[in-house]
Symmetry: D2
Subunit: 140 residues, 4 copies
């Protein structure tokens, strides 16, 4: 599991006085980017190498609201991995209290939009992500 | 079913050259706001009357990408309605081509965060939304 | 002068209950895009033709706050035009009441970032924008 | 001068492949918030005490573009201070290279929108901000 803390920005709030719901997906993206960086694979390098992980499906369940200036924690795990597809799950918490949970699904494609076999084309990233999944399974 | 056309803004795009995925939820919100306005119930009036429809759950499935300056259509339907909860479904299309589908779930609460019985507290809105649901069921 | 009406989105508001100040620049961009479209030059076509109008300088003066669901009007004029540079000014109003004024400055460059002489490279757009400036000067 | 580093988010980029210009104002806001926190005055506490610093005027000059995943530095200084008004200036840099400069002007008001004399109503904050200004003047 990867953890990163974020300070809620004024721009992220809305007239209800809480974080606008769509912004949790921005935090999810930061979570998976930093998980991959921690595994040794900056997403910018991935793009430079010709891979993209567009977003195919997302969901989020909101439990409690985040507010301006809150320090929230984004926890990210890889939940499924195949050579053609990667799935992440997320938990947003504030001082241990659960605010939201969500998931995102990403096909692995090249910059022409064609499916890529990550295992063949980027064995290092494939191994690192697999290791992340295995650790996750053990921890449960 | 309610339909509204939107012009994609430069600010809604990202470095992949397409609309950033979280922005579809902004369009969904415009869809349900305009559906309710068309039914005679401006969301601002609802808030002034002490009701809120926060977002409890959302999901979105992305099929094709919207691009800058595209004219996209947001189609919104009420899919479920109970006195305490309302659910919407959405389709985003561009010239008839499907770009994305999604759903959102909203509890009905007062401004202290307590559940509200919409049927009792706002019979007019309840009737209008029910009518929208019935029409939707007939159309299918 | 070009005019376009926009409905304020929930996503554009912040915890002060008003539109977040940076979002006025999103409206300014819509204003200049639609001014150019009205003059016969879609910005997408311009980009396809190899021109870009990045933002070099901006300012905004806020007089009154826009709120959720307000219908605001964006008025846009071309205030200066040279073959290498274009400047726009904007007024945001709500039912005639002034909310904000601002300006933006844009160099005209090609997609390698080199300055472009618009007069030579796109005489049609140059003529159309000049006409817009002349009309503006007459109207004053 | 206060300094804070930020990692550029994918959501902050646009179809030109760079950070959307309006987002620099989001970074400026983070800059002044953290300057005030460093001076011992969280903006949330200020709001709780009944003060607000809405945005009256802003400007930004863009020199070079920030890109996705860049680590940018926001430098913030208080440039003018009166009991009724505060002004900040900002520099955005990336590894020492100047990307943008800007300024913002904020009246000091209470939560009914009335002007507040900060010197009288919040002498601690007034003293801390004055100290920041003095230090700034010395450093120049």
């Amino acid at each position: 599991m990867h953890k990163i803390d974020l300070r809620v920005r004024y721009q992220e709030t809305d007239a209800m006085g809480v974080v606008y719901h769509a912004n949790y997906f921005v935090w999810f993206e930061i979570g998976r980017t930093e998980l991959m960086r921690a595994a040794g694979f900056a997403y910018t390098q991935l793009e430079a190498d010709g891979f993209m992980l567009p977003v195919r499906q997302v969901n989020c369940h909101y439990h409690r609201s985040a507010k301006y200036d809150d320090l929230v924690t984004v926890e990210t795990v890889v939940t499924r991995l195949s050579p053609a597809r990667i799935e992440f799950a997320y938990r947003i918490t504030r001082a241990g209290e659960l605010l939201a949970t969500g998931e995102t699904v990403h096909p692995i494609i090249d910059n022409q939009g064609r499916p890529v076999n990550l295992k063949k084309k980027a064995p290092g990233l494939w191994a690192a992500l697999n290791k992340a999944v295995e650790l996750e399974i053990k921890e449960r």
